[in-house]
């Protein structure tokens, strides 16, 4: 199983039927591919649509109907459209149950940096700052280490923050970590790793709960 599939399969189990969910662009969208058959979620895209469906067949695109990445969508029965102020009223106002976002850095306070690398990458925050502020559950999905093997789950973020103390769960290909007021609690690890390996690849301190660390079921 590759990294994205591992994150997608475990991440897809974090939701309950009926939740209103906003998935960030990129790795977070993988989760939608692995939803259990008995879980029926309601998806929002911040450019103004709820209950959107899959990409239309070629030739059937509606030029006015896209996701927040300008990719054509369809809309399903029960769907609706709304303006940007309403969309962010839903988000900031706590009406979105969960959001899943990518990571440049995340730390043991639940701080998230995912929108810029000064001098290198400055695309802008788009809707990410509102999503991490307003969504009831914020899941940060990430490779456990970067390409050079350096940890991405840090004691303290060095990059400019997208949100301060906003993340509830950190999910990587190796582990599922809960952010608590006491610190990061290691809840689950992948079948092909060990607690020692996860601790070694994590800069932040990990709390091993007395009830033990479960093995991720995919």
């Amino acid at each position: 199983m590759d990294l994205r599939e591992a994150i997608g399969r475990r991440g897809a189990k974090m939701f309950k039927s009926g939740m209103l969910v906003n998935l960030g662009i990129g790795m977070p969208t993988i989760l939608a591919n692995y939803l259990p058959a008995d879980v029926d979620l309601v998806f929002q895209s911040e450019n103004g649509v709820i209950r959107f469906g899959p990409k239309p067949e070629e030739g059937y695109e509606d030029p006015y109907l896209t996701n927040a990445g300008a990719v054509p969508l369809t809309v399903m029965q029960g769907g609706c459209y709304f303006d940007s102020a309403t969309s962010f009223g839903l988000i900031r106002g706590g009406h979105v149950d969960a959001t899943v976002l990518g990571v440049l850095e995340v730390d043991e306070k639940g701080n998230l940096a995912n929108y810029m690398v000064p001098g290198k990458l400055v695309p802008g925050m788009g809707g990410a700052m509102d999503l991490v502020t307003g969504a009831k559950m914020v899941v940060a999905v990430t490779e456990h280490t970067d390409k050079s093997g350096a940890p991405k789950i840090l004691k303290q973020c060095k990059l400019p923050l997208t949100g301060k103390q906003v993340v509830h769960w950190i999910l990587s290909e190796l582990a599922l970590i809960q952010v608590t007021p006491e610190g990061l609690v290691l809840r689950e690890i992948a079948p092909d790793t060990t607690v020692e390996e996860v601790v070694a690849k994590t800069e932040a301190a990990l709390i091993i709960p007395p009830e033990g660390v479960k093995t991720i079921e995919y």
Binding site: N47, G48, V49, P63, V122, G124, M125, G126, G163, K164
Partner: protein, 215 residues
């Protein structure tokens, strides 16, 4: 009644140095016919209020490539490399806003509210220089309302009274910008005599001019 004018007449309302609002999200729901005329008119030193700068060959992205802005107030520039180049080269002042904050600043500008407090951006670079107050135990930032000289909207349908109906995610920032321009110009795909009042998204009293979409 809204006056029906040409896209070139709409573009001619904008003078060097003006602040304009342009509807659209990555160009979807943007008034492309008017934008093409603004590129042709080549007005300069503008300030843009828009969600993003689209793509180099699309919508307001073309005006970026044509170097018509001195400042942009947006939430995202990642899809237009020329925006990033001009920013890095010091040719363009880029003010990045969280998307919800941007929408709310425009909405407040149009509805007569001067400023508001929001939790979005606390503890981030967005908070720099802004007042922080605690409401209901939560830190919030003071954000100021914004307006512009001309708002350029795009709707699927408009009527001769100026009433507008958007379609799908083409709505996005258009309804809030309809309140926030001193002058409001709407480009429409289809111009009809009248819309069913139940179908109206933006009240026509806000819209000064209508432009029919070009081919």
């Amino acid at each position: 009644m809204a006056k029906v004018i040409t896209a070139a007449e709409a573009a001619a309302m904008v003078k060097d140095g003006d602040t304009i609002l342009v509807g659209g999200f990555l160009g979807i729901g943007s008034p492309g016919t008017i934008i093409d005329e603004m590129v042709a008119a080549n007005v300069k030193d503008l300030t843009l209020i828009c969600n993003d700068t689209a793509f180099p060959d699309k919508m307001v992205g073309k005006m970026i490539v044509n170097k018509q802005f001195k400042k942009i107030i947006v939430s995202h520039i990642g899809t237009n490399k020329e925006t990033g180049r001009q920013m890095t080269a010091g040719e363009l002042d880029v003010e990045l806003n969280p998307q919800g904050t941007l929408a709310e600043r425009i909405r407040n500008g149009g509805i007569g509210v001067g400023a508001f407090y929001t939790p979005t951006g606390v503890g981030t670079p967005v908070a720099e220089g802004k007042e922080v107050r605690v409401f209901n135990g939560r830190e919030m930032l003071l954000e100021m309302a914004i307006k512009g000289k001309v708002a350029f909207l795009k709707a699927a349908k408009g009527d001769k009274y100026g009433n507008l109906r958007y379609h799908a995610t083409g709505m996005n920032f258009n309804p809030v910008m309809a309140f926030a321009g001193e002058t409001v110009v709407a480009e429409v795909d289809e111009l009809v005599d009248f819309l069913d009042p139940d179908d109206v998204h933006t009240p026509g009293v806000l819209v000064d001019y209508i432009v029919r979409r070009g081919r």
